[in-house]
Amino acid sequence: MHNFGEWMEHLSWVQYVGMTAWLYSGISTIHYFTLFVMVGTSVVIDLRVLGLAGKGKPVAQFAEQIYPWMWGAFWLAVITGFLEFATDAGDYLPDTVFRVKMTVILLAVIFTILLQRSVSGAPEMKLVSGGTKALAALSLLFWIGSILAGVEIAAISGLG
């Protein structure tokens, strides 16, 4: 796996990204911005489902408006994150904290998808079931966890 990372790092277009300061900074900026928007919009939906925002209004109606932006921001964060990862893939791949971050993100995505299906399945629902609230709480927990894992990569591993 480390050899794969080293191979990726030495691809010509990856080296160009890594060595072009304005390009790398731009990618970093978009990664942070879309990450914040993605987590923020997901949190807004979770707060609605948990009854901490927009009480008395149908949950699905609100969530349906937010989800396209959330997933749009997510995919932009994934693309820019991959570009940043590629420039130092040889060091990121074996790093434990990086692997924890990817695992936490995967869990956050799974719970968010489950929540989205649960919410969209009952369009007129104003009262949310305990199971759906649990999904929202887990989604919230893992998205916050992904931010923590992200900052720990720099603190513990010195990467990024």
Binding site: W69, I147, V151
Partner: protein
């Protein structure tokens, strides 16, 4: 000739940095990342609610909830996010105040971009109902939403550049 702002703020920066709590943040392996988590989590809530409102102003999203209704619903969480950002940001700044205050990217972010973006955000928040009153968002409203997104993107750009000037 007036001294640059960072010169006049250096004594305060030194004082903040030498407080016991700022020293604790700076020297602890786990506290500093935790404070970053607070700052970034607040930023997520702040930017997420801002952009949700701006995109609704741009006509993205389904009816019948108007742009004004979206803003109203997110208002409290928007400003809670801002308070968390400020708290986390202040603690991060205090830990290394003398380094941040001389950093041109940090100064651009805090003393120029954030105040402009914040003032614009308050203006957009106040005017959203007017722009969407007829059910169709005016060109001015859409332009205001685009400008807000650009301003907060500029703030994040300046923040990303801070380590490059450190």
């Amino acid at each position: 000739m007036q001294a640059p702002i960072h010169t006049s703020l250096m004594p305060l920066s030194r004082y903040l940095q030498m407080t016991s709590w700022a020293t604790g943040i700076r020297t602890s392996l786990w506290v500093y990342p935790f404070i970053q988590l607070i700052h970034f989590s607040g930023l997520s809530l702040w930017l997420g609610t801002n952009v949700a409102g701006d995109l609704r102003l741009l006509g993205v999203g389904k009816q019948p909830q108007s742009a004004g209704d979206v803003r109203d619903e997110l208002f409290v969480w928007n400003w809670i996010g801002f308070c968390i950002v400020v708290l986390g940001g202040f603690l991060l700044f205090s830990a290394r105040a003398t380094m941040y205050i001389i950093n041109p990217a940090f100064r651009t972010k805090l003393f120029m971009l954030v105040p402009v973006a914040l003032i614009w955000h308050v203006f957009v928040q106040a005017k959203t109902h007017d722009w969407g009153k007829s059910g169709i968002i005016s060109v001015g409203g859409k332009a205001a939403a685009v400008l807000e997104i650009i301003l907060w993107l500029s703030v994040v750009t300046a923040a990303v550049e801070i380590p490059n000037f450190g």
